[in-house]
Symmetry: D2
């Protein structure tokens, strides 16, 4: 009744329990991978368009994490939080249930308050959705606030060298 099936992910003891997906920074690009689940899709059979914004936010949160920035501590300490000021999205090809998606994030401009990031969702190198997302740091009351110096430097390291104007105007 209980067949002697051995599964690829099977272990006798949980020697190493699984970890959440974590991205990596390679050069000046952050890469974050995810799988498409039912919750991401809609009755059209493809990923619901608004969910790319959720995925981009997951990638930015992971990026902060990789950069050593603890946004929850900053939120709870009243330091502030990043908020999305603009998002400009182009949808190029659909994603489907079970697809493996990689989100690539790089910085376009990094200023004292706001950063503009380029984010792309790809499946096997095919671009599905690309966005320019401007995030701004705000106080808990919602007013623009200078982001911590170390955070600004961390973001600056993600601006491609070929892009010589990391300081946004604002």
């Amino acid at each position: 009744m209980c067949p002697a099936v051995t599964h690829p992910g099977m272990m006798d003891a949980p020697a190493s329990l699984p970890a959440p997906a974590s991205g990596v920074i390679a050069g000046d690009v952050h890469h974050y991978a995810l799988r498409v689940f039912y919750e991401d899709t809609d009755a059209g059979g493809v990923v619901y368009h608004a969910n790319y914004l959720r995925w981009f936010e997951r990638a930015r949160s992971d990026l902060l994490d990789v950069l050593g920035i603890d946004q929850r501590a900053a939120l709870e300490a009243g330091t502030g939080l990043y908020t999305v000021a603009e998002a400009n999205l182009r949808y190029l090809a659909p994603a489907r249930l079970g697809d493996t998606i990689v989100i690539e994030t790089s910085a376009v401009t990094v200023g004292r308050v706001a950063c503009t990031l380029r984010q792309v969702a790809l499946r096997d190198g095919v671009r599905l959705c690309e966005g320019l997302v401007k995030v701004g740091f705000i106080s808990p009351e919602g007013r623009p606030r200078r982001q911590p110096e170390a955070w600004q430097q961390a973001f600056t390291s993600l601006v491609p060298i070929a892009n010589p104007a990391p300081e946004g105007p604002e």
Copy 2:
């Protein structure tokens, strides 16, 4: 302008690009890990209660994947799909932004059409939400259908040996 910061996740070349989170089966329990993002939380400052059902479904989809079951191919080929018939949830403690959550899934009963799974969300071993979720296999038209034999066997391997009645009455 571009400080010589070295980040933990930084690499010069994307030697190994990141993979989506993937669960493991240890003994008769499947473990799947995830991180809490802003999208998961609500204005109460904690994870919105409905999202545990999304997380449980992610874990079940990953479980199918680990068991070698391709639910998208089954969906597209008209073989059928699993649908949730019952979900009984108890919320024990809240989760917050940035938490690492592990979803543990084991089988309680496995029948020809339906399986009942026990799913628990934990943070550092603390139980946050536990559920009994009954899923049934249905045809594309929505009628109950016998699940593929190999799938039933795969699920049966997740029924604890101490639980000697894997055949549910359904």
Copy 3:
């Protein structure tokens, strides 16, 4: 180029702008209606199962509103908030894009801290999903707290007279 089409919902001046959906209490049952949008569906072509919990919560929030309870003011004043302690759901039939759904909510037990509500999602009188949802009042720090007296009375008015035990044990 601009044809003289007259649409059903067309007006020359916005004499009365539209209002959000609002439920009504008839006897001891609260009724709340909603439409199924793409965001509610998944690649199976039907409403994603977790979304019934979102709908039930919309109905409960509207119910509080109809009962004159301002949950945002209570949240901001530190009075407390309702949290879901248990949800037991049975899925009976699927809903599809464009369906009009009515959520019926009545009280089963009303105690000093917790209430158990019966909630049903119907389409044209057909039961799609029914749930027993236990909500508890908690302090902003997450500890059980006695709900305001007037709120408890308001909920009590939703307990059917045939159900003579409105005081839950808790």
Copy 4:
């Protein structure tokens, strides 16, 4: 124990059951109202940014409905469906739990395949988020397809007269 409380929305018999929110077209602008629920908010205490795209889609679906266009029938008959090709969003002010939001939608360009719509989310006349959303009609296989003639005419009626170029280039 069951006090003789009379609630504003209370009725003895469900003479008229509630209806889902429905928008109206006033002049060349479609108005759709909604309430902010817990599901819409995040741990920052405000509406999660991606949800404006969900709200804009609700408004567009309601608009199709008011214009007499049955998108579900078109989906099921294989006629095709609208897909989002571009979305350009500016976030101006946050929304909070319980807020009443109105989504205003008007057409900027209407072509054979694609339409560009201007959509704004307002609370008491204050602009919270404004977007330019380009939707394209596609076949069930995902290829651009000419939208039904009557639908194009219906959208054209939403192009402000002051905007004399309703034919998009595409």
